[in-house]
């Protein structure tokens, strides 16, 4: 189940507390949607690229996981270049489509922005064990244990449901009903999978309850999630990079409020 429950390799980034990584990823995301410009996003992308060697991901893993972000960044960039607000000299005209200097700059800003928001999020999940994230969310961020552990347990069901989906498809073929109505069959099978999800969830909930989960007693935690010096440094550096990116954009006059 390599994609569902990723194997986390030991690395500097993997050793940072998941909450610290989450905070930085959120900070980057929230700040960068405020403006569309090349400089602020470019600074963040440059720093993220510097961080990549410390994430412990193989080239293949990195390519697979960032592929959706890369593709969407390029597509968004192309669309902006063709249809974005025109300014400056016209570089290319094809009927209603014009590419100008202005729309090219905008395209670059969009492309970098998608990368700057997307790649840190990918890094967060590629270097974080879900159990550790749950520990951090419950113990440090004080989210309710019921919610956090419920979500964590549900993640385990994903693998089982993938197997269910395969078996349901094979069984339909074996029962003689898989020749026609592809779309309808897909919808019905999806409905059946939902039934399986509810039933498996119910059984797991019973098993958890039988082991004292959800009782009135105050829960303890076998694994301690703490913010160490490294985690604080990571957050401070992350915040500094974001602040630096904004400052650079403001100084160079490229900052453009979205709203």
């Amino acid at each position: 189940m390599s994609l569902v429950v990723p194997e986390i390799r030991r690395s500097w980034v993997a050793g940072v507390n998941p909450l610290a990584k989450l905070v930085v990823a959120l900070l980057v995301g929230v700040t960068l949607v405020l403006s569309i410009d090349v400089v602020s996003a470019g600074v963040v992308v440059a720093v993220v690229v510097l961080l990549l060697p410390f994430a412990g991901l193989s080239a293949r893993q990195l390519a697979l996981r960032t592929a959706p972000i890369l593709v969407s960044a390029v597509l968004a960039g192309i669309a902006t270049a063709l249809y974005g607000v025109d300014a400056g000299s016209v570089l290319l005209r094809l009927g209603p489509v014009t590419v100008t200097e202005g729309s090219l700059v905008l395209a670059a800003a969009i492309l970098l922005r998608v990368l700057a928001v997307g790649v840190p999020a990918v890094l967060l999940f590629a270097t974080t064990d879900p159990t550790d994230l749950a520990d951090a969310l419950a113990q440090l961020a004080r989210l309710p244990a019921r919610f956090v552990l419920g979500a964590l347990a549900a993640l385990r069901l994903v693998g089982l449901l993938l197997e269910d989906w395969e078996a349901l498809g094979l069984a339909r073929r074996a029962r003689g009903v898989a020749d026609r109505g592809r779309i309808r069959r897909f919808l019905v099978q999806a409905g059946t999978l939902l039934v399986f999800a509810v039933r498996r969830g119910g059984k797991l909930a019973t098993a958890m309850e039988a082991r004292g989960f959800g009782g009135t007693r105050r829960r303890s935690w076998a694994r301690r999630s703490v913010l160490r010096v490294r985690d604080v440094v990571f957050m401070v550096v992350g915040a500094a990079v974001v602040a630096g990116a904004v400052a650079a954009a403001l100084l160079l006059g490229t900052w453009r409020w979205v709203l």
Partner: protein, 493 residues
């Protein structure tokens, strides 16, 4: 160690919210601390309901109606959480976390124990069940027997006074069964835990228990006493009620096999496996397999959990592509189609090769048992009169007539199994691939099922069955194919 728990039931009963009749009614029972009890009863006698009641997970008035009193150490079980540990049948359905150590720690965390105490108990519990893997070992990569021992360790770490095992070995291969049995034997040796086991196969536990209690369907206790007293003196009577009593197992005489056994299906130099989600290449589960499927003969595919038995079955059934090698249908079976069953259309396949899936729920397509039995014949465009006739005949034969209007998903485990078998037989395929066809049956329905399969083979059906049930193998198998779990295999004729 906390002292063993006492169980008291006085006129206790429970009716599930959506059922007209109670699952358990008027039950009086006393278990003294440290006692080890094997709980028996025909299908539907309320064994699992009683265990769920003792574990305090039946729910509240919204989920059903309670009557009488059921107490653990004088307390309502729901208030005695942590005193009672429950282990269920399905090893996959009860694992909560991704790593072995965390899984065992989960219950202790819920009890609010200090961290050092938790890890001390985790180590002890894993040692007690003999599970010698690193604490960060992935729970998904354990064998069936290991998963069940993990489940036992997980409740053991909570130091329950009452340990409840609900068919803990039903899904396991013989080796896994022995692992779990031995682990439980060590745990209860000191009599510091009261034990209640529910299991169809009495042999596994009979030497380990002090007492056998047989529940009566509809309510109350049918028999209660030492194993010798209950199984020895009343063995014949209990066996007649469907209970698997050692020495009274059903015997199904083997029908005459047809002289001619034309070959229908070949698997040559097969490697079988599945491609998991997100992976580029399939994982090979078994390789180097040569299989010949002949009309009027039964091939039993045997071997430990994870040896690739089910994958081989699905590959022979024309559902999965082999990783290498070929599955070839001979003209006798193909009847005008190409030689690769995998390329046949769904309707062409169902007329030739029927597949009974490991999990019956995967193959249910309709909202009632009646419609479920009509799916195959309808897909083949059989005339209505024939559809009805085959439906009623199969329902009668497999004791499903009273359930024709029920939703397949609401049936008991044993009933689901029989329905899945009947639904596949409805199209009378020449080749039948059956994955654990006898799962969850009591002695009566087991005998009926085996008799039916034997008749089919005697009349020329080719049966390939994947199973751990050695009595089924003895009753039916002509050829045995033993997968060893590595990529080796031995074929025994």
């Amino acid at each position: 160690m906390s002292p063993a728990a006492r169980v008291t039931a006085r006129g206790w009963g429970w009716r599930h919210g959506d059922r007209p009749r109670p699952a358990v009614a008027g039950l009086d029972l006393d278990l003294v601390p440290g006692e080890r009890t094997l709980l028996l009863g025909a299908s539907g006698a309320g064994k699992s309901t009683l265990l769920a009641g003792l574990a305090g997970v039946l729910g509240d008035a919204e989920d059903g109606d309670r009557s009488g009193e059921l107490l653990v150490d004088g307390l309502d079980p729901a208030a005695a959480r942590g005193r009672v540990g429950l282990v269920l049948q399905d090893p996959d359905g009860q694992t909560v976390l991704a790593r072995v150590g965390d899984e065992v720690a989960f219950g202790c965390e819920n009890l609010g124990l200090p961290r050092e105490e938790i890890w001390r108990r985790v180590g002890e519990a894993l040692a007690a069940v003999g599970l010698d893997v690193p604490l960060d070992h992935p729970t998904s990569e354990l064998s069936g027997g290991q998963k069940q021992r993990l489940a036992i360790a997980s409740v053991l770490a909570m130091r329950p006074g009452l340990l409840l095992l609900d068919e803990p070995t039903a899904n396991l291969d013989p080796e896994g069964v022995a692992e779990v049995r031995d682990a439980v034997g060590r745990l209860v040796a000191a009599r510091e835990t009261t034990l209640v086991v529910v299991e169809h196969r009495v042999e596994t536990w009979v030497d380990l228990v002090d007492r056998v209690v047989v529940l009566e369907p509809g309510g109350g206790v049918r028999a209660d006493g030492t194993p010798d007293a209950v199984l020895g003196e009343r063995g014949a009577e209990l066996a007649a009620a469907g209970i698997w009593v050692p020495g009274h197992h059903p015997v199904v005489p083997r029908g005459e096999r047809p002289d001619a056994a034309p070959e229908l299906l070949h698997g040559s130099r097969l490697a079988v496996g599945r491609r998991r989600f997100g992976e580029r290449t399939p994982r090979v589960a078994a390789s180097g397999l040569d299989v010949v499927v002949r009309a009027g003969r039964t091939t039993a595919v045997l071997g430990p959990n994870g040896a690739g038995k089910s994958t081989l079955g699905l590959t022979l059934a024309g559902l999965l592509a082999p990783v290498s090698g070929e599955v070839t249908a001979l003209p006798e079976l193909a009847a005008g189609l190409g030689a690769a069953p995998l390329r046949w259309r769904s309707r062409e396949l169902v007329a030739r090769i029927g597949t009974i899936f490991q999990d019956p729920e995967h193959q249910f397509l309709r909202g009632t048992v009646r419609e479920e039995l009509e799916v195959g014949p309808r897909a083949l465009g059989r005339p209505a009169s024939e559809i009805v006739a085959s439906r009623d005949r199969l329902a009668e034969r497999l004791r499903l007539t009273a359930l024709l209007d029920a939703n397949p998903f609401t049936l008991s485990g044993g009933e689901k199994r029989r329905l899945s078998v009947a639904a596949v037989l409805a199209t009378a395929p020449r080749v039948l691939v059956a994955d654990e066809p006898s799962f969850g049956q009591d002695a009566l329905t087991w005998a009926e099922l085996v008799r039916l399969l034997d008749e089919l083979v005697s009349r020329g059906t080719a049966l390939v069955t994947v199973t751990h049930d050695l009595e089924l193998v003895d009753a039916l198998a002509d050829d045995r194919l033993v997968l060893t779990g590595s990529t080796e295999r031995e074929a025994v004729r």
